[in-house]
Symmetry: C2
Subunit: 214 residues, 2 copies
């Protein structure tokens, strides 16, 4: 059955999903990249970026599976880019170059309308201004029976979680302490939201947990 | 060199070190016991309680090492028992029966004076009413060059952390979501307190991390 999933989302020991002060030089916030050390070392990641090599263990399996059976993505605006306020022009086309690693429709939550942006490799960014439920409906239609992946960032995941619209979260707990940044867990009571099952798979560089409704 | 250590302290994925509503039936708060599933299954734990059997893998190594080279313990009053306010009498002697698993001097933080309580097996509980620094000084003296272990609970560990009196924390991240309870990390910025090194050892049922100053 089609699911709404969070997958391969890295979280620090102290619960942060991104560092503070995101900008052009720190797409994941200051020190945010450290959360993803387990991911960037994998073959799956390197392949996505047209490179060879990379690790082939458990971390790689988790990375690869996070891209399987995904029919559409939803991203928060800050995950799409550092631009704030109205779009001045079409010059910002995401962090990922001409061929983003999505290869599906990607729905970007924003308060500011913008025409769809088709990229190479099958990715088209659609800018959704009428809220998270509308974005999810559009993503489910586009996914045509496959899963919808909530890519992030933290604020977007929290909004979907608190609206009870997420079926499954696969988080990758990185052995990193950030101390500040965007906190994924604060004020979120997972058991109260119905998430009572935790499966744990220790990888080489992170511990992967899958959180499901009971 | 003698260290002030937190060791084998279990924390949920969402950062709780104990469940809510501690009482006589829930010494670790509601669902708090689930945090310790990795520990209670080990041979080290069973031996402590005069039982045979138990697991002998990585979790057991971590459990056993947490008791090595400890010369004195410090506990918060709630870790010693569910009694609140002045001690009515000497009837409460801790959660652990006649022979507690400490076998050293144990300094219990409390606002209410009480005479030292010697138990079988070398444990003596001393009740310290003049603050965490005094308790640490007494514990260091008693430890005579060995380490002082801050046993918990969460509030006690947080107080010593924020006073920069802890050298090393070994936390065991359990694949459990509590949603509520006593939060270990909230408002604590580990890197700012000088803790920049994280070593990770995945065990059978929990992921053990050791947090040290850089």
């Amino acid at each position: 059955m089609s699911k709404v999933r969070v997958a391969a989302f890295s979280v620090s020991l102290d619960g942060f999903g991104a560092g503070p002060r995101q900008d052009l030089n720190n797409p994941l916030g200051v020190r945010g990249l450290e959360l993803h050390a387990w991911f960037v070392s994998t073959e799956a990641f390197k392949k996505m970026h047209g490179e060879r090599g990379g690790t082939r263990g458990i971390d790689n399996d988790v990375a690869a599976r996070s891209f399987e059976n995904i029919g559409a993505w939803i991203l928060g605006r800050n995950m799409f880019g550092p631009v704030r306020g109205p779009w001045k022009d079409d010059s910002w086309q995401g962090w990922w170059g001409e061929e983003p690693p999505y290869h599906t429709s990607v729905f970007v939550l924003t308060h500011h309308a913008r025409a769809p942006l088709p990229m190479q490799g099958g990715t088209t960014f659609y800018f959704v201004t009428d809220g998270i439920e509308s974005a999810l409906k559009q993503a489910k239609d586009a996914a045509a029976g496959k899963d919808v992946r909530i890519g992030g960032g933290v604020s977007t995941i929290r909004q979907y979680l608190m609206a009870s619209l997420v079926d499954e979260l696969q988080l990758s707990m990185a052995p990193v302490l950030l101390g500040e940044g965007e906190h994924l867990f604060n004020g979120i009571n997972f058991p109260k939201l119905g998430f009572t099952s935790v499966e744990r798979v220790p990888g080489e560089l992170a511990t992967h947990v899958t959180i499901k409704k009971g």
